[in-house]
């Protein structure tokens, strides 16, 4: 790696925690960002000469804070940077600072920063955009590309979110245990949203959105290091890793959807699977199963099956039943019905689907599943109707193409029979 690329990676890795500490210091997002930028500029000047600091985060916080005290706003009139001796002396200055910024401090700082971006008053799309900009440090064009909107629209979205957050009173005292738990849960929900924003992307835009999954996993791992004993954080990280392990197999060369049963399992990322399984193992040791852990356990059963035929549908059905109790939702019931179809046949599953028709009447996946079950039962005309409904509800070209494929198959079958 070149010096600049290496510094870029180090700064990216340190950004969430450094921004969290700077936010506590300045109590203002814009000032914290400005101070961080300044610290990065100085890192680019200092690190190639003096070598990397022992503690990157502490260095960036220390230098960022001092730079702001010097008057960040006056930097445009070509000021002398502080003497090199000031910067190279940092190793001494770092230690007391590092003590101040101990693990506990960092962890509440980072959580506060994330929580600010995940403010419940913000619409989900703004939460994600703000977190990507402020916490992950993605540029506005990068985020705009991921959301398939123009740079200007994204800039506006982030500015609106920032203004909204600035008006809120986020307490800066060290949070109590219940408050910390509440924040962690809110942040976990947004991380999963961010992940799904990248994961559910299909068709032409898919490849540009994979970074969203990577960022979500990176932040989850970081939170996990700060909160090592939280089973649901372990579960969420495991879930994201296990799902993301399939990303290369989910679309074919033309961008068409490849169903789980048809995926080339050699394309699954074994490294992510192994890590996900290890984290899930840790979570389950606590014997406090909640929604993310159960979903991760389901993903783990798919990951462990050497081929689709070997999938443990009985266990999956039980896990979906557990999920129905923990987090009742018609979508969970639909997924359970899919497992039931594999176990006890399409007719039983279809009865379960009928009970969900009212709740899921506008859901693409519902009609896709219904159509497939009807095909299995040989009820072609009804299957065709279900696929037509699905087609009308498709949200991406890839989804639509997938349904057309099913309709074409039905048509060909009918012709062959006719």
């Amino acid at each position: 790696m070149s010096a600049v690329a290496w510094i870029d990676v180090a700064v990216r890795g340190a950004r969430p925690q450094a921004m969290g500490a700077l936010l506590r210091h300045f109590r203002d997002l814009d000032l914290a960002e400005e101070a961080f930028q300044e610290a990065c500029l100085r890192a680019l000047k200092s690190w190639p000469k003096n070598g990397p600091p022992r503690d990157t985060v502490a260095w960036l916080v220390f230098v960022g804070r001092n730079a702001a005290l010097d008057g960040v706003r006056s930097r445009r009139r070509e000021r002398e940077l502080p003497g090199e001796e000031a910067l190279s002396d940092l190793s001494d200055a770092e230690s007391p600072l590092a003590e101040q910024l101990d693990e506990a401090g960092y962890r509440d700082d980072l959580l506060r920063l994330l929580f600010m971006c995940c403010h419940p008053e913000l619409p989900a799309t703004q939460q994600i955009a703000l977190a990507l900009r402020i916490v992950c440090g993605l540029t506005v064009p990068e985020i705009a590309r991921a959301f398939l909107v123009t740079d200007v629209a994204m800039e506006q979205r982030i500015t609106r979110a920032k203004n909204r957050v600035a008006a809120e009173q986020i307490p800066f005292e060290t949070p109590g245990a219940p408050e910390r738990e509440e924040r962690l849960a809110a942040v976990a929900a947004v991380l999963y949203l961010l992940f799904n924003e990248g994961y559910s992307a299909t068709g032409g835009g898919a490849h540009v959105r994979v970074p969203l999954c990577d960022e979500a996993i990176r932040l989850a791992r970081l939170l996990l290091r700060l909160f090592p004993g939280e089973p649901e954080m372990l579960g969420l990280t495991a879930l994201m890793l296990l799902q993301h392990s399939r990303s290369k197999a989910r679309l074919d060369a033309h961008g068409a959807i490849v169903l789980l049963e048809d995926q080339d399992r050699d394309l699954w990322d074994r490294g992510r699977i192994e890590e996900g399984l290890a984290l899930l193992d840790k979570a389950l040791r606590h014997a406090r199963p909640e929604a993310y852990q159960v979903q991760a356990a389901i993903a783990a059963l798919h990951a462990r099956a050497p081929c689709f035929e070997d999938t443990d549908w009985a266990e999956i059905e039980q896990l979906y039943a557990a999920l129905e109790r923990l987090q009742p939702s018609p979508v969970v019931s639909l997924n359970r019905a899919v497992a039931v179809a594999k176990l006890r046949g399409p007719a039983t599953a279809l009865v379960m689907l009928d009970a969900l028709a009212r709740d899921l009447g506008g859901y693409f996946y519902f009609f896709g599943v219904r159509g497939a079950l009807l095909v299995d039962l040989g009820r072609s005309d009804e299957a065709r109707e279900a696929f037509d409904r699905a087609l009308a509800l498709a949200k991406s070209p890839a989804e639509a193409a997938h349904i057309r494929l099913q309709i074409d198959r039905l048509t060909r079958k009918k012709e062959a029979e006719g």
């Binding site: 790696m1 690329a5 990676v9 985060v57 996990l224 090592p228 192994e274 193992d281």
Partner: protein, 123 residues
């Protein structure tokens, strides 16, 4: 004499590598390890999973299991075992066995491997 060379770096930074950057670093290291292997000097090489996957067992009458990596600074790294385990549960049981056999103080950090390159030849 056999030497262990232990790797330390910032996990935040390494996790921020793109898959391409990671592959580049691995490929460059492979060049060196291949050379060592040809010389018959290379023992097993392991890359560990992130510290988020770690569990720590504090030895004692009643061993205590903690989530997360070993974090004390008053004890030093003295050795390691690499053991095949079907699950974390089995790994913890194995560590307990080792703990009862050896000294009753200190800790074991239990961490899955991401990659293991077995010894090329008996060095």
């Amino acid at each position: 004499m056999l030497y262990a060379i232990l790797c330390y770096d910032s996990e935040d930074a390494v996790e921020s590598w793109t898959p391409e950057q990671d592959a580049t670093v691995t490929a460059k290291l492979d060049v060196v390890t291949e050379r060592l292997a040809r010389q018959g000097r290379l023992g097993p090489v392991a890359r560990l999973m992130p510290t988020t996957t770690a569990t720590t067992l504090r030895k004692g009458e009643e061993p205590i299991i903690l989530d997360g990596p070993f974090a004390e600074t008053k004890e030093q790294l003295l050795g390691l075992f690499i053991v095949e385990c079907a699950s974390l549960e089995q790994a913890i049981a194995t560590a307990k066995d080792l703990g009862q056999a050896g000294s009753t103080s200190g800790s074991y950090e239990i961490r899955p491997l991401r990659r293991l390159r077995p010894a090329a030849a008996r060095p």
